[in-house]
């Protein structure tokens, strides 16, 4: 079991926003990858979904997402890479609040298909604040060397959004 975390790279979105956050040339020296983010998206609405792209490919991402907003809960099938989690704050959510989205990808250099899990929660001083848990699979045998975070609405992440990529392995 991997038990140490090393920060590989981090980013803070600047004033111009960012349509995606792309980590490239990810070293193959770890066992797992862990991405911790604080995200907000710029268009109207309370929350948006998050997309996760591996190696620049747009196919072969499937899974299941459970989500709720404090009043009701439901689930949906993950069928496209642009929708893997729900609960990213948008412009209409409480000012200066950011969602927390954690992504874990075990065995990212394996020649087997890659699984991932996501824990996402929105921050919003409202009766509804969305949260989701996702379990997914990227049906590709290539090692993960790059990954991108994108808002499902394909607009932009807001200034001060952050993403930290960690490598996880045994010490």
């Amino acid at each position: 079991m991997a038990n140490t975390m090393t920060l590989i790279s981090s980013v803070t979105v600047g004033s111009g926003g960012a349509s995606s956050i792309d980590f490239t040339s990810i070293p193959a020296t770890y066992t797992d990858l862990c991405i911790k983010t604080s995200l907000r998206e710029k268009t109207s609405g309370d929350y948006v979904r998050l997309g996760l792209n591996f190696n620049g490919t747009a196919a072969s991402v499937t899974g299941k997402m459970l989500y709720g907003d404090g009043a009701s809960a439901s689930s949906l099938n993950i069928t496209v890479y642009t929708t893997v989690a729900w609960g990213v704050d948008r412009f209409s959510a409480t000012s200066n609040t950011f969602s927390n989205v954690d992504i874990y990808i075990p065995n990212y250099t394996s020649s087997n298909y890659k699984s991932f899990s996501i824990d996402a929660v929105e921050e919003n001083n409202s009766s509804a604040a969305l949260m989701s848990l996702s379990a997914g699979l990227w049906s590709n045998t290539a090692a993960i060397t790059s990954l991108s975070l994108i808002p499902d609405s394909r607009t932009t992440f807001a200034q001060y959004s952050t993403a930290y990529l960690y490598g996880v392995k045994n010490a």
Binding site: V11, S19, I21, D22
Partner: protein, 77 residues
């Protein structure tokens, strides 16, 4: 008006680049956004239909009237 930008971080070098999207990438982004909206609308309709079925199933259970196959399916795990 300039196109939106993306942030790329090279994990080997640590170099962070802000890259303006090409027109083709912007067009793809807009197409993806429309697809996302359409997908969301379909899912909302399906979620509402399921909620309506559950409400109907509960009412019939309380009233002691027969459930439809679809209504029963919402209650059996």
């Amino acid at each position: 008006m300039p196109n939106p930008t993306r942030i790329e971080i090279n994990c080997e070098t640590g170099v962070e680049s802000i890259i303006e999207l090409t027109d083709a990438e912007v067009a793809q982004m807009e197409a993806d956004a429309q697809a996302a909206e359409a997908r969301k609308a379909e899912e909302d309709v399906a979620a509402q239909a399921l909620a309506d079925l559950k409400t109907s199933a509960r009412a019939k259970l309380v009233a002691g009237t027969p459930l439809t196959e679809e209504e029963a399916a919402t209650l059996v795990i």
